[in-house]
């Protein structure tokens, strides 16, 4: 990137917030996606929405691309830039307003998800989306990727909470969409179009989300199953019994073994599946739901059922699920975490298929995830130096995505398409789907300035 352009960037955001040295470019050449590396030409950290607009306008006029980045925890390569400007939003980190009458929170795009949680929960309010990276992920990133989390089954995902957005368009213009009105049918729903646009249509500067009252009570249960099918049937039958748990998490045998090796939490090694179930709401309802869930689990021949009596006990019960990724990640240097998602009725066949695929390609794949909403995390434990194994891992995942599509599911439940899933998208949405997406992209960004090369 040429010096005068870097200088122009520095004039907007300040010299110390404009990086173009070799070392900086090297470390901004990755996000959390395994294997992917792509060096940007410069990195800027604007401090105001106005600076974001000016940087984007400058790049637009110069024909240089801009890729927004929050904390760089993207799992599909979405925050990587090939020679363009990476715009890191971390300094835009003010919680602007918590409106307790309208139950909305307005935050700048770089606010950390868990910081918003803390702030609203101290007022007895609740912002449910809780992606695994919530302690560092930014709200803007959550909106751009439409992040999910453990509470998705009952409470939905980020898009269910976005009420309004302030967005810088690819030419530097400012677009405000949505607002505090709960009902709003004026024109196309641009909010929903911008959610999960992965930084290709605009860069958010402010995000307004809906809040709900914090549930009064919560109960946590841990259940072991000697048979995988019975665990899967339990999931379906809990829902069929008109109970929607806040959390319904699943660990498969490989994951259980790794967790036990790593954390010694006392999981038996002969079980096929573990479910972590959490119900919340009114105390009386929580009691009823927990009792009904217990009956369903026993009917499906669970070998162990424990309910936490205290918050400390609940924390203990959820240890296995909380350390699942750590336990798997320690086995081998490279950890490929995917998010194939199927209708919840297909959990058992999907887990089976993943296990068979792992055997077929001679790989170790542990599966855990959000069984309640069908969002699984098959996690391949591999070593990037073993080219042959990596190639087999990619073949295995291609087979898993094909199966997910065939079951009426999707190639990504919460990580986004980015660069990593690009080649699978046409299979899922078809030619017409890709064409409509391209047309939308062109309508927003005719010069192709914003986060090019992502999604399709």
């Amino acid at each position: 990137m040429d010096k005068p352009f870097i200088k122009a960037l520095g004039n907007i955001v300040g010299e110390q917030y404009t990086l173009s040295d070799r070392e900086s470019l090297a470390v901004y050449g990755y996000d959390s996606t395994p294997e992917l590396v792509s060096l940007p030409g410069a990195v800027v950290l604007p401090g105001t929405a106005g600076q974001v607009a000016r940087v984007v306008a400058l790049c637009h006029d110069a024909g240089i691309t801009v890729t927004p980045r929050g904390s760089g925890t993207n799992l599909s390569g979405g925050s990587l830039s090939a020679g363009g400007v990476v715009l890191q939003t971390s300094r835009l980190n003010r919680i602007v307003e918590i409106d307790e009458e309208n139950l909305t929170a307005t935050v700048e795009t770089g606010v950390i998800t868990s910081a918003l949680h803390r702030d609203v929960e101290a007022r007895g309010l609740f912002y449910p989306p809780d992606p695994g990276s919530m302690n560092i992920s930014t709200m803007g990133g959550n909106v751009a990727e439409n992040s999910g989390g453990l509470r998705g089954l009952k409470y939905g995902v980020t898009s269910d909470y976005v009420m309004g957005l302030t967005t810088i368009l690819p030419n530097g213009e400012l677009l405000k969409t949505g607002g505090k009105a709960v009902k709003n049918v004026a024109g196309y729903n641009l909010n929903d179009l911008l959610v999960s646009s992965e930084g290709t249509l605009g860069i958010f500067t402010d995000v307004m989300v809906r809040l709900i009252p914090k549930p009064q009570a919560k109960k946590t249960m841990l259940v072991h199953f000697p048979e995988l099918e019975q665990a899967a049937l339990t999931v379906s039958h809990i829902i069929a019994a008109r109970i929607i748990p806040a959390t319904l998490e699943f660990l498969d045998k490989v994951t259980i073994r790794c967790v036990e090796d790593y954390a010694k939490v006392g999981l038996p090694l002969d079980v096929e599946a573990v479910l972590l179930i959490e119900v919340d709401g009114h105390p009386a309802m929580v009691e009823d739901d927990a009792a009904a869930i217990r009956a369903i689990c026993e009917k499906h021949r669970c070998s162990f059922f424990q309910t936490a009596a205290t918050a400390d006990e609940a924390l203990k019960l959820s240890t296995a699920r909380r350390v699942a990724l750590s336990a798997l990640a320690r086995v081998k240097p490279t950890t490929i975490l995917e998010d194939a998602t199927v209708p919840r009725s297909c959990i058992a066949p999907m887990v089976k298929l993943i296990q068979e695929t792992a055997r077929k390609y001679d790989l170790t794949i542990g599966t855990f995830g959000h069984a309640g909403d069908g969002n699984l995390h098959p996690t391949c434990l591999t070593d990037e130096r073993d080219k042959d194994e990596i190639a087999r891992a990619h073949q295995a995942f291609a087979a898993i995505f094909d199966a997910a599509i065939a079951m009426g599911g999707t190639i990504t439940g919460e990580h986004g398409v980015g660069l990593a899933k690009k080649k699978y998208l046409p299979k899922l949405v078809g030619e017409a789907g890709i064409r409509v997406m391209r047309d939308i992209k062109t309508a927003f960004d005719p010069k192709g300035i914003l986060n090019p090369g992502k999604i399709f």
Binding site: L45, S133, T335
Partner: protein, 413 residues
């Protein structure tokens, strides 16, 4: 360097919210994941150890909060330290480093003599005059910063006054070797005296071998691995000549280093045995909690606790100090927000990187203020120096003391 350790980092970013320098800058180069990537790129020959490269790595406090947070068990702080050691092995020590680390530190007598002019400086009233007249502005900034950290020194180092053997009171539970840290002896001798009293009261015979040398942590700060190994070998030899159940220290930094002797001197069986016996004082006191509890008198203070990095992150000790504080009758314990975040002292970091150290410190001071505590308790001399000096300036009503001083005060009523 073990390449495997570098590629274990999966770049997930879980370390970022725990890294003090990332929290201040939001820069990937100032993050644990970034530092691992930089060292990896150096190993792979993609980056050179340029001045800028080294500047980026030098911003690391080595507080190891990232290691506590890492899902994959990567310790970015340690990897950076290892990288610097390898570089130092090639480049050699500077004249000053050679002087301090090899001529002064290994000899407690020389060290004590070197400190005595400072005592004269304080006792003669010269310090008061210098500070009052603002003469420090004429000194180089590093020196004036060091002067600012200088606390009131005790009349004589504890190593000189303490008996080699302190007998157990009541029924004897066992024999412990007391590892008396340099700064504890020279500066916080009252706290270490309290430590010995507590151990004796709990029924331990306490042996303080007078010939012991520095633990070697300062050598590691200067990336002088050979110097550290020499200290380690000497101390292992010395303590092995006694029949000890435990080796105890009340210095977080020493404890963390002593527990690594087995790793540093790989293949040396006695070093491994030595390390396995090392306990932070809080660990031993908790073991004698029942006995200690009976002897504690009320202390009606509002108290909060700051986790030293070398205790929480390097040794994984978090519950014990809190459990001990909660045992004191009428003590109003208040948990500090982000209690295990670094205070910015970090060995010599507050001298080497004053600007970042102050930013990290400011955050700590805010959280301390918010507790409304009268007493801040911690158990590492670096933190004590840093926080005493800072709080004396901004919150003079908050007193900073070592854990054992508070417990001893409660015990003696």
């Amino acid at each position: 360097m073990d390449y495997e350790k570098l590629i274990n980092c999966m770049r997930c970013g879980m370390c970022l919210p725990h890294c003090p320098t990332y929290k201040e800058t939001f820069l990937e180069t100032a993050s644990p994941r970034g530092r691992v990537a930089l060292v990896r790129k150096f190993q792979e020959g993609e980056l050179e150890a340029s001045e800028r490269f080294l500047d980026y790595l030098s911003l690391c406090l080595d507080c190891q909060a990232c290691a506590s947070a890492c899902p994959c068990g990567v310790n970015a702080g340690e990897l950076v330290a290892e990288f610097k050691c390898e570089k130092k092995d090639r480049d050699g020590l500077s004249f000053m480093e050679e002087l301090v680390l090899h001529r002064l530190l290994p000899h407690p007598d020389r060290l004590e003599t070197a400190v005595s002019p400072l005592k004269l400086y304080q006792r003669s009233g010269l310090q008061r005059v210098v500070r009052k007249l603002g003469l420090l502005k004429m000194f180089p900034p590093r020196l004036s910063r060091m002067e600012g950290l200088l606390p009131q020194l005790p009349a004589s180092p504890l190593r000189r006054t303490l008996q080699e053997v302190t007998l157990a009171q009541g029924e004897e539970r066992g024999t412990v070797g007391f590892f008396l840290g340099c700064v504890m002896s020279l500066v916080f001798s009252e706290a270490s005296f309290a430590t010995v009293q507590l151990l004796s009261a709990l029924g331990y015979r306490v042996i303080t071998p007078k010939a012991q040398k520095c633990c070697g942590a300062p050598n590691m700060l200067a990336s002088d691995r050979a110097g550290m190994e020499e200290m380690a070998r000497f101390n292992v030899e010395l303590f092995s000549s006694y029949d000890l159940d435990f080796i105890v220290t009340d210095c977080g930094g020493c404890g963390a280093e002593l527990k690594k002797y087995g790793h540093h001197l790989e293949g040396d069986g006695r070093a491994a045995i030595f390390s396995a016996k090392v306990r932070d004082i809080s660990q031993l006191l908790v073991e004698g909690a029942a006995l200690l509890g009976e002897r504690l008198h009320p202390l009606p203070y509002r108290v909060t606790y700051h986790d030293p990095c070398h205790i929480a992150h390097c040794q994984g000790i978090r519950n014990e100090p809190r459990q001990l504080l909660r045992m004191v009758p009428e003590l109003d314990y208040r948990e500090l927000a982000d209690a295990d975040a670094c205070c910015g002292s970090a060995g010599t970091y507050n001298i080497e990187q004053p600007e970042m150290a102050d930013r990290v410190l400011r955050r700590k001071l805010d959280t301390i203020r918010n507790t409304g505590a009268d007493y801040l308790v911690t158990s590492n001399p670096g933190c004590l120096l840093q926080l005493k000096q800072a709080l004396a300036r901004t919150e003079p009503q908050i007193r900073v003391i070592h854990l054992t001083e508070l417990l001893h005060a409660s015990m003696t009523g």
